[in-house]
């Protein structure tokens, strides 16, 4: 890539006035560095992932409202976690976390277990029990 080809597209970084450094060749073919504001293919890839996550959050929310899963599942998606990440944050086996996805099991959880989840999601226990349905 030549320095004049370094993409200056509008990206997620440029919104925050950030630029990233890239290596490119100057007119003599020697390597130098240049700053880029963003590149469209990257922005598209990133927004694809964000969309994917938003979809999963919406599905989880619906499932909580229909009493199919517990709010833990919703907050896990909201915090962009998967079961592996969540289980290591709360320090419980994955099968246990999965079990807590069941509304019935969730209803019987002790304060100390709920506290672990609430702290992980950075919310209060009350918020954990009742997700906002606005």
């Amino acid at each position: 890539m030549k320095t004049e080809e370094v993409p200056q597209d509008k990206g997620n970084l440029s919104n925050k006035n950030m630029k990233e450094l890239v290596y490119a060749t100057d007119e003599k073919g020697n390597y130098t560095t240049a700053l880029s504001t963003g590149w469209e293919p990257k922005t598209i890839a990133l927004s694809n992932s964000i969309e994917e996550i938003s979809e999963r959050i919406a599905i989880a929310k619906l499932q909580v409202e229909n009493n199919e899963v517990s709010p833990i599942c919703y907050y896990m998606e909201l915090c962009r976690m998967d079961i592996g990440v969540l289980s290591s944050y709360v320090g419980m086996w994955q099968w246990r976390v999965k079990r807590h996805f069941k509304p019935k099991v969730f209803a019987g959880l002790s304060e100390s277990v709920l506290k672990k989840y609430a702290e992980t999601f950075n919310i209060t226990i009350a918020e954990l029990k009742q997700i906002k349905t606005s």
Binding site: M1, A45, L46
Partner: protein, 332 residues
């Protein structure tokens, strides 16, 4: 307290931290040099490790490996510490800052508040340098940022003890000994040999063969997984390649810059020629990203576009195979 640390922006976090820390300790070494000697160029496909619900593809070796290999090859001593207790981790870092030692940290990205929200995923192999502390904040030199930044004490603690794959466990590292005479030439040759060995490895999921394997999978995804998943996987390839610091195309340019520098140091004209060739391969990776992003943006349903993409990736693999064979010969 604050150390007299100079921040230089870099393209990749681990190279950047290594280069910045060594520069601070009097060893002037560029980011591409760190990357080349530390054998940072890599490819591995790990189907059973899922990142954001898609199979993991990494264009770099395990976190920490680049700096470790660099240190070994240059004869530097790096002190690395992990902590089980958060209090001890804080104490050790503060002690370092008191003694005027800027320290490298491995951290999780999710709670890095200075990143745009879209960049915050549970990815634990990011690196930065802490070079000072105030009442409320730590002074941070994050090599991918243009300027230095800060994190509050609580925020830094959170990112140091992020959980999940590659959990950093408060990991802290800094050079403790740099020899007066270093064998740069020998180190460069070792680094190149290692990269050639990795990229030409006789294993189906590593190096050139790994790229080929993924290329063949791209053909199967729309049929086997459905268009939606196939597109998600494709986006993941591009995101890993271009976005989250594991670099595909960009890494090729850093490697080409390394070969250019190495060509001068080793007085080897062939490496300059190969540097140009690597630049061309980097451009191919970028073309691939452009094409792939078009496919999943338009949610194209034609199976044909997947075949075209797959062929493009196969062509890259072929080029790289020839390239690394030539590179191996060039330093013999």
């Amino acid at each position: 307290m604050e150390t007299n640390f100079t921040h230089h922006q870099s393209a990749h976090c681990e190279n950047g931290v290594a280069s910045n820390l060594l520069k601070h300790n009097g060893l002037n070494i560029s980011e591409p040099m760190v990357f080349g000697i530390g054998s940072g160029l890599f490819f591995v496909y790990i189907p059973f490790l899922k990142v954001n619900y898609a199979p993991a593809i990494s264009y770099r070796p395990m976190p920490g490996l680049i700096f470790n290999k660099l240190a070994k090859r240059l004869g530097l001593k790096i002190k690395r510490q992990k902590f089980s207790s958060e209090t001890n981790a804080i104490k050790a870092l503060d002690e370092n800052l008191k003694n005027n030692i800027p320290s490298g940290l491995q951290v999780g990205v999710y709670n890095l508040t200075y990143f745009p929200d879209e960049y915050r995923f549970h990815f634990n192999a990011h690196n930065l340098v802490v070079y000072g502390k105030t009442e409320t904040d730590y002074l941070i030199s994050d090599p991918v940022m243009e300027n230095v930044t800060t994190l509050t004490h609580a925020e830094l603690n959170k990112v140091r003890f992020a959980k999940g794959a590659f959990a950093p466990r408060g990991q802290m590292y800094y050079p403790i000994q740099i020899p007066v005479n270093i064998d740069l030439k020998g180190a460069i040759i070792k680094g190149i040999k290692n990269t050639c060995r990795d990229m030409l490895a006789p294993m189906p999921i590593i190096g050139v063969r790994g790229i080929r394997y993924v290329a063949k999978l791209i053909k199967k995804w729309p049929v086997k997984e459905g268009i939606k998943k196939a597109n998600h996987y494709l986006a993941q390839i591009v995101r890993m390649q271009e976005e989250i610091g594991t670099g595909g195309g960009g890494f090729r340019f850093i490697y080409a810059a390394f070969l250019q520098e190495a060509s001068v140091i080793l007085d080897n004209k062939e490496l300059q020629v190969l540097s140009l060739e690597m630049t061309a391969i980097g451009d191919m990776w970028r073309d691939f990203a452009v094409e792939a992003s078009r496919v999943y943006k338009n949610r194209s349903t034609k199976v044909d576009v997947y075949n075209t993409l797959s062929d493009e990736l196969l062509a890259i693999a072929d080029k790289e195979e020839v390239f690394f064979k030539k590179l191996r010969l060039a330093i013999k």
